[in-house]
């Protein structure tokens, strides 16, 4: 019995390692490619061990950019992506927690109608409403701006629903105790509801940050200036070169750099994230 247990464990571990290898190998390859000389990659003679051009390639990527397609340094693209992703994540959380608070705790005319209206927007992703959204943003002169990049993506039915579900599990007595303790609606929200929602907000932040960071279609449409483009658009532009060799080390370095902020966010917030998804204790 004990032997079988051990055997089973080995099998499980082997399967896990195979899984890790499948996921990690391309990432490793991207990193290796980013440290090689472009000519070596173009020849198809790339080694599986890191080459000697690490510092040089990353310096060029971050501060200079490719010499051909986009002349924009990737550092700037990352900044654009970061600002956009943060604005989207923070904005979505702020808007949706406030609307969920209104829907759950206040009685006003057409409350349920509004709730369903928000709910229905779940069925309308960016792609479906892209023309009207573009028109509005253009009319408001928000093309090529951070506001234009983030504002149209900020409203979130999913996050509103999530907060609504969470608020409904908060015992009514807590609100009543607050009322007796002399806390008005704003105080109750700020002193009690927000701290209780901390883990939920953290979990949402992780998901929404990555969602924002990975936006492709919308930034592609509304940014035309090189200095406003996000890293996801940048990578795409770097690959298509008409009359020159694609600068693969720089492309790969950009890909590696594009991965870092989401990884960083997940690692830092992992504990809160997991607690936010599984926690039931109030």
């Amino acid at each position: 019995m004990v032997e079988e247990e051990g055997f089973r464990r080995y099998i499980a571990h082997i399967i896990l390692w195979i899984g890790i290898a499948i996921v990690a190998f391309p990432v490793y390859l991207a990193f290796v490619a980013s440290t090689q000389d472009n000519a070596v990659i173009a020849n198809g003679q790339m080694s599986l061990l890191p080459g000697g051009h690490f510092l040089e390639t990353y310096y060029q990527t971050i501060f200079v950019g490719t010499s051909g397609s986009t002349r924009e340094p990737v550092g700037n693209m990352m900044l654009n992506s970061l600002v956009m992703a943060l604005l989207i994540a923070v904005g979505k959380i702020a808007i949706s927690i406030i609307s969920a608070y209104a829907i759950v705790y206040f009685r006003f005319p057409f409350r349920m109608a509004l709730f369903w209206l928000i709910f229905i927007t779940l069925m309308l992703p960016v792609e479906v409403r892209i023309y009207p959204t573009y028109k509005i943003v253009a009319d408001l002169h928000m093309l090529d701006s951070y506001a234009g990049l983030s504002l149209p993506l900020i409203a979130s039915a999913t996050a509103t629903l999530l907060f609504r579900q969470f608020f409904m599990t908060v015992p009514d007595e807590l609100l009543e105790a607050s009322r007796i303790d002399g806390a008005g609606p704003f105080r109750f929200f700020w002193d009690t509801l927000l701290p209780l929602s901390r883990t939920n907000m953290a979990a949402l932040f992780v998901i929404l940050f990555i969602l924002g960071w990975n936006q492709y279609l919308w930034p592609l449409l509304i940014t035309t200036r090189d200095d406003m483009q996000t890293i996801q658009i940048g990578i795409r532009k770097m690959i298509t070169t008409t009359d020159a060799l694609t600068e693969w080390p720089i492309v790969m370095a950009t890909a590696v750099l594009a991965m870092l902020p989401p990884v960083f966010v997940v690692v830092v917030m992992q504990k809160l994230f997991v607690r936010g998804l599984v926690e039931t204790e109030k």
């Binding site: 007595e173 009322r179 303790d181």
Partner: protein, 362 residues
């Protein structure tokens, strides 16, 4: 310090459901008033109306000479202890108690004095920095009480505060609440469905049923002279035996008792003795022992009457038709199946009109 007076208080929900059908209660300064009744009788609703958490649709609530009908809970000068404690989970014990005072803009030094004092009284001093989830049920209960005490309100309101505790702790906390209330001498209203809690805590007992007050008064007076069959069966455990006076067996024994219009006879289990004699003017019943429960200090005998009879409409804790509970000293225990004869003296008989709504003095 304040009186609490309810004048013809009513609550009708928008759907037309009448939860409180006109309640008049007067709680004197420093008195401990207990609202007791079965689930759904409106006792919690009434308490929440005093707290200001439910609107009042009729009548007046007067706290310390001020009509508070339209006043916010925070401005009524009351403090409430909830059934599930409703402690703020993310705040330390200290902050839980200090929160209400801070919202009132009290100076931090004064808050500290008050919280420390409350913590000392409730033996929470060593736990002030802990979070509620790190406390046991009894400790959470005490924090909830502490939160009420630091406010130094005119009135304490308790909404079944002990029902989440285990039996032993409940008794200990019950005594503690009583002692605390005596010491602070603060007018209190306490809601419970546990008649034992009600009997032991109350200066004034309010027995409620179906949104109405059945009887108000001193707990012992209510026990001795219940006004209706509902009160008779609700107060006292095991409940009072209620039987119709129609059968000839009982009718003949009551003949001399000026109880011609009485329809229901009630006798408490503890007022029966097993005897062959019939006390003068009393009632004796032959029983067959169906079951016995020996709990140490006393024995409960469940007996059935010889003849089946019509059941008396009384809720709750009602007995099956013809079944009688008798409480005798723990040293005795008749055999199951034995034929016994139990009797009660005249002073211990309770007579009610046939609908159970009126008490008839023997």
């Amino acid at each position: 310090m304040a009186n609490v007076t309810l004048r013809n208080v009513r609550k009708t929900y928008p759907g037309g459901f009448e939860a409180i059908k006109g309640v008049d209660v007067d709680v004197g300064d420093g008195q401990f008033c207990v609202l007791v009744g079965p689930s759904g009788c409106g006792k919690s609703t009434l308490l929440r109306m005093v707290a200001g958490l439910e609107t009042v649709t009729g009548g007046e609530i007067d706290i310390g000479g001020r009509i508070v009908n339209g006043i916010e809970p925070a401005d009524r000068d009351i403090a409430m202890v909830f059934q599930n404690y409703a402690l703020y989970p993310h705040m330390s014990v200290y902050n839980n108690m200090a929160y209400g005072l801070r919202n009132r803009g009290m100076a931090e030094a004064d808050i500290k004095t008050r919280v420390d004092e409350a913590a000392r009284i409730l033996e929470l001093t060593s736990m002030l920095e802990r979070k509620p989830r790190q406390l046991s049920g009894g400790q959470r209960q005490r924090v909830a009480m502490g939160r009420a005490i630091v406010r130094q309100p005119k009135v304490f309101l308790f909404d079944e505060p002990l029902s989440n505790l285990d039996a032993k702790l409940r008794i200990a906390m019950r005594v503690e609440i009583r002692k605390l209330q005596r010491r602070l001498n603060t007018t209190s209203i306490y809601v419970t469905h546990d008649q034992l809690e009600a009997m032991t805590l109350a200066d004034i007992l309010v027995v409620m049923n179906g949104g109405q007050v059945e009887q108000v008064g001193n707990p012992l007076a209510i026990y001795e002279k219940p006004a209706t069959t509902f009160v008779a069966s609700f107060i006292g455990a095991p409940p009072m035996n209620l039987m119709s006076t129609r059968p000839e067996e009982i009718r003949s024994q009551l003949a001399g008792n000026a109880a011609a219009d009485a329809g229901i006879l009630g006798i408490r289990p503890e007022d029966f003795v097993i005897t062959d004699q019939t006390p003068d003017g009393g009632v004796a019943l032959p029983l067959t022992v169906e079951a016995i429960e020996r709990v140490g200090a006393e024995t409960f005998v469940y007996g059935s009457r010889e003849q089946e009879e019509q059941r008396v409409a009384a809720t709750p804790g009602e007995l099956p038709p013809g079944e009688i509970i008798v409480r005798i000293p723990g040293t005795e225990a008749p055999a199951i199946g034995a034929k016994i004869r139990v009797a009660a003296v005249r002073q211990k008989l309770h007579l009610f009109s046939s609908d159970g709504r009126t008490r008839i003095e023997v």
